[in-house]
Subunit: 748 residues, 2 copies
């Protein structure tokens, strides 16, 4: 029965095979005219240039961190130097996930444009297949990586006969955290760097092109146009790919860490709680593939968003329902009747309930997010009305909508935490997130098809294809905007649950390594409270840096375009060739420079807190950062989405105080201001929040054994009289007893 574990990497391979086959299929589609091919080559080359520049910097980062990790791990009996290798693999896979996405997106964009010359059905087919290549590539890599590594480290580090709750298994799982650390840290840099890139190019191209030179959007004479289209690929595609790869891995891993602590008498030597999240992920891949078959529209559908949205919903819900049904069977089959984690007993039915809670939270989150950002609904309409009195009231309206939009999602999330915990304790919180993330492949396919369609529209414009082509890509793009907004709601909810699970895992590792937390991260101790403040401040600083970076990088872009307009003869007559690569390089350099400091803050701040103030202060820090990060993420994503759609509402005309206003009216100009303010909110800092909170938790989890080692020697200051020495050993007696150095660390 132990062979079940091999199913996991097998599912990963299945996902990658699908990726390969469909990638070939996309490549074989006709890329259209020479002009289209030329433009798409520019875009692909620009995207590749960014990724190469990014990788060059990140390579140094990976090598340095790997050395530090290896050094730290090898001097700690509860860790192992191979964590450094896991880290490198995680980083490599994350970069690969972004690369696959970028490659297929820069192929699918031009082919979607070409397919749109035929029919909407064909265009949807190409763009969605492009998205699904990315989705299954990401999920396949994640499942293969986690499953494969688990098999290897288990074989190397866990002797036969060693219990799943043993110190050996703790060590094996600890090595896996390195994989997640690699994945998530690359994800952060990719998301932030890509986010700065895309918005800098977007804003920069618009400011000089549309405003100063008076040429239309996507005009090939504008040297920044290609950079703008490259931005869609490196930000919305490669950045998102790395992001979701990291999230997916982190979620499954968090459940595995808690699963390792869970005491379960099953047919798999107690392994079932560890296997479950990986198996659900594997099933998710299978049914995501099945789900892609549902995404199709008939030739007679006409050119409307409804049919496309319905097709995507079919695929999405198909894969979710099938995965949920299969999960019921799986849970019923592999889990024992009852389990316990840190003294909290729960049943297999509880685990099923927690998965149900996770799915419900994800669904509600998407619905609420859509409400707050959709055209025609109250929130967006309130911003439209407030555009009538100028720029300032539009901005105030958007900020108010963004802040208000945190109410329901937070209540849903709090209910989800409460509910999943009630179902199956901390394991329930983790498995709820894992359930939500099971169909990541399908989610990502739906998300990634948006920017592909967006790019297809740009290429159609630049290649001067007939208006009908653009109409079809616009329909796809409009649906993509909706899925992008709901995807963000989903992402922040799953990130919150994952961060909490990682937080719980961190607490467990600290305690299992012999540091006495006195059974609690006590919020009313002064150092914990102080750390709570510091943690909650990090998302504010991170956001400040990210949105300022967009502003400054946009300015660099403006300078370069002005220079080219000045110095290249005949550029405005379409005779002189713009130096697209210079703009791409400017945007690339600026974004890579500006991603460093926020990235460093994310990685270093938990280290400083932990090493300087101890494991409990770090716990307070993580809680503060998670709570504030989730709120800032929702606030910024939803404000940005609402501003965007308030602006779009003017395209068809809106009524304000009995008068109809269209594009170019004063209220429309005010709405453009809000949209521009929202750009870095919704595409740079907002979506980084979910990576930020997970990354900080993973960093803490990775260094937890060393933290316990450093702070665990000697007796911590007694702060409350009622802390009992006996407490230490009760929580996880098994582990402490079997850990070879337990005696050394045993506190007090």
């Amino acid at each position: 029965m132990d062979k079940l574990i091999y199913l996991v990497p097998a599912m990963g391979v299945l996902g990658l095979l699908y990726t390969l086959v469909k990638f070939k299929w996309v490549s074989q589609q006709d890329a259209g005219s020479d002009r289209m091919k030329e433009i798409s080559t520019y875009i692909a080359d620009g995207a590749m240039a960014f990724l190469k520049a990014e990788w060059k910097i990140l390579a140094y980062f990976v090598v340095i961190v790997a050395l530090l990790l290896g050094f730290m791990a090898s001097s700690n009996p509860h860790s192992h130097w191979s964590i450094a290798i896991a880290f490198v693999i995680g980083a490599f896979f994350s970069a690969l996930a972004g690369f696959i996405g970028m490659r297929v997106a820069t192929k699918a964009n031009v082919r979607t444009a070409n397919a749109a010359r035929t029919s909407l059905k064909k265009a949807l087919s190409v763009s969605f297949t492009g998205g699904s290549v990315m989705g299954l590539g990401v999920a396949g890599l994640a499942v293969l990586g986690l499953g494969g590594l688990f098999i290897i480290v288990k074989a190397l580090l866990v002797p036969d006969g060693s219990s799943v709750n043993s110190a050996d298994m703790v060590k094996a799982i600890e090595v896996l955290t390195g994989f997640s650390l690699g994945a998530e840290s690359i994800a952060l840099f990719a998301r932030v760097g890509g986010g700065i890139y895309t918005k800098a190019a977007d804003v920069g191209a618009d400011l000089v092109g549309k405003v100063e030179a008076g040429i239309p959007e996507d005009d090939p004479r504008n040297p920044a146009t290609i950079a703008d289209n490259v931005g869609d690929n490196v930000g919305d595609v490669a950045g998102m790919g790395a992001d979701l790869f990291g999230s997916y891995v982190a979620t499954v891993l968090a459940t595995m860490v808690l699963g390792q602590e869970t005491i379960a008498v099953d047919a798999f030597g107690g392994l079932s709680p560890i296997l479950l999240p990986m198996l659900i992920a594997g099933i998710g891949i299978l049914f995501s593939i099945v789900g892609t078959w549902f995404v199709r529209i008939s030739d007679s559908a006409g050119i409307s968003t409804d049919a496309v949205q319905k097709a995507l919903n079919m695929g999405n819900w198909g894969s979710i329902v099938l995965t949920a049904i299969a999960s019921v069977g799986l849970v019923y089959w592999i889990l024992p009747e009852t389990m316990s984690l840190r003294g909290h007993e729960f049943t297999k039915w509880g685990v099923l309930g927690a998965i149900g809670v996770g799915l419900a939270v994800g669904t509600l989150m998407s619905i609420i997010t859509e409400y707050y950002t959709a055209m025609g609904k109250r929130p967006v309409m309130s911003i439209v009305r407030q555009s009538g009195t100028g720029h300032a009231t539009n901005v105030i309206g958007g900020l108010a909508v963004g802040m208000e939009s945190t109410l329901l999602p937070i209540l849903v999330l709090a209910g989800g935490i409460y509910g999943s915990y009630a179902c199956a304790g901390l394991y329930g919180v983790a498995i709820a997130a894992a359930g939500m993330m099971a169909t990541t492949a399908m989610q990502l396919a739906i998300d990634a098809f948006g920017p592909i369609a967006d790019n297809a529209g740009g290429i159609a414009e630049m290649s001067e294809l007939p208006k009908e082509v653009r109409e079809k890509t616009d329909v796809l793009d409009a649906v993509g905007n909706t899925t992008a907004a709901t995807g963000k709601g989903f992402a922040i909810a799953s990130a919150a649950l994952t961060a909490l699970a990682l937080f719980a895992a961190y607490v467990g590792v600290i305690k299992n390594n012999g540091y006495d937390l006195g059974d609690a991260i006590n919020i009313y101790k002064a150092d914990v409270l102080a750390s709570l403040f510091v943690g909650a401040m990090i998302p504010f600083i991170f956001s400040a840096l990210a949105i300022r970076a967009v502003g400054e990088a946009a300015m660099s872009m403006v300078e370069e375009v002005r220079r080219q307009f000045r110095e290249i003869p005949g550029i405005m007559e379409g005779k002189g060739k713009p130096e697209y690569d210079k703009c791409v390089a400017i945007s690339t350099d600026a974004s890579i420079k500006k991603m460093m400091l926020p990235g460093a803050i994310a990685i270093l701040s938990p280290l400083i807190m932990g090493f300087a103030f101890g494991p409990e202060a770090l716990g307070g820090f993580l809680a503060g950062a998670t709570v504030s990060g989730v709120l800032m993420g929702m606030f910024q994503n939803n404000a940005g989405g609402a501003w965007d759609n308030a602006k779009k509402s003017f395209e068809k005309g809106v009524e304000i105080n009995g008068q109809i206003y269209y594009k170019k009216s004063e209220p429309h100009k005010a709405s453009v201001t809000g949209d521009t303010v929202g750009d870095p909110f919704k595409d740079t800092s907002g979506p980084s929040m979910n990576i930020l909170i997970k990354l900080m938790s993973i960093v803490s989890l990775v260094v937890a054994p060393t933290l316990a080692q450093i702070h665990g020697y000697g007796i911590p200051e007694v702060k409350a009289p009622a802390q009992k020495v006996e407490n230490t050993t009760t929580a996880k007696a098994g582990v402490i007893a079997t850990a070879d150095n337990a005696v050394v660390y045993s506190t007090k």
Copy 2:
């Protein structure tokens, strides 16, 4: 030696006597020409109309809450029905504090304008005396109220011979929390209502007057002008007066609650830790009076801000240094060598250290806030530069500055929490806040003089006094802007420390009432974590409601002014008399309606959390709300202040990319957008945050005995195996043992 307590109300009476004498002095000054008197009467009447309307609504609120409180308290053996009376007195005093401030401000404004016809020295003298009447009135009422009530409840509820750590004393202090609840809840309504009023009138008057009708600011033809000037008095004066009254009381009270729990063998029957904060407040009154003597400039000073700022600094530092020196003597005299609170031992030197930490935190906070909002410094200059590329980049720049400005204050605050706790445990955190707030009278005098000078300028303009008069009031106004910004930094820091002290007090009351918290509010329990999220969301919702209210109320104002321009014949020629009172009524009604929901959220949300999910969940909720409220407060105050000064920078001309821009330039228009966005940030929602977090903590503290009563019966679910039954009794054996019903509640 017990007679020492009578010193406290005596100091309160001293403050009130000063208030009375100086109020008379201000009244006796010449109010200038008939035109000036007429205008000032309009303003005074408008302000009175608002206060009356506000009181009418709040009277219902006070009666209902008092009845509920009395009912709740009388069915709880650890409380007493007289808490309802304390509540009513607190509410009344708070309203009275606002009333005194408003009355003197509406007298001092016109007299300052008239004094400015003579000299700057005279104008400063009148306006600052006006401010100090308010400052000493507020402080006097607070000290008299707290000291007097303490003497009365002690006489009524604590039998002779009953220990200071006895259940009787717990009950007496519990009654005092009612006083603080009354003060702080009126403060919240006054601050939010006043904040909405002032910004609605401001924005509304500008939109129709300056933009639509093309008449200058403060033009008497604009029906909203008076409302605008009324707004300064009800928002910046009456609102702030109630705010600081509430804060001052809450801070002293929090220290008293923790002081009651402190075990101290002294010459005052163990009372010294309770007496200390009240005595320090009393000393603060004395030396604030002394400090006012230092605030003077010479006739030869010339018309410059430097001399005025220096005079105010002299007064401020004089009172702080004198109070600090006297506090050293006081601590040395009344406190015993060592004390202990919940098993944490500390010395009198530690208490002195904690007071020092509090003063250091307050000073640093003011300096940092000034840096982020001052003209010519990097943050404001970055916004100025970003105004060069339009409205959107200006807004992005301001948001980034606001978010970034949380970094240093949070580190200082965290250091302050850590440091004051290290000095004297939780009592240290509380006394640090009390030390910061000791010279509230002087702080408030300095704060309140700003809006008086601002109003004086408006009256000078409307009465067409010579330009030199306006120049002098502008100097005072400019200094007032600086002191307003730093005052906000100070307020949020002291609020954070106070909220933490109240939080600790809440935990103590819950435990002393026999509910077993297992020695901790454990952040990694699911319900606590879920509550942390919900709590952190409240400041976002509160802010959303407040800033939206300003937008909507401004629209109502615009409608009314348009109507008057249309319907009153000859209004534009200065012949038809504008119906000022209609605008005042519009603004009054709108602001009072819109203050209800945010106020209700602040009061009801902790009740819902506590009664539905229990004391520990409420603890998580409070921690989340405090952390997020502090951050949102800093973010909004500093962003608003920076936007304001970025706009003001254009008055003297600024250089952007080598070109000089002045008022009316495109970059200046962009900066006006930012300033308008910042208006509700810095004058409505931002400054409400510090009341919000304290009020929620006080509500929790007041209902704590009932919460413990309801949730304490029966055995709470065992969530971790290591919770020990014995823990309960160790923390505060004295109280549990002497409480008559201890046996009934004793958990498990």
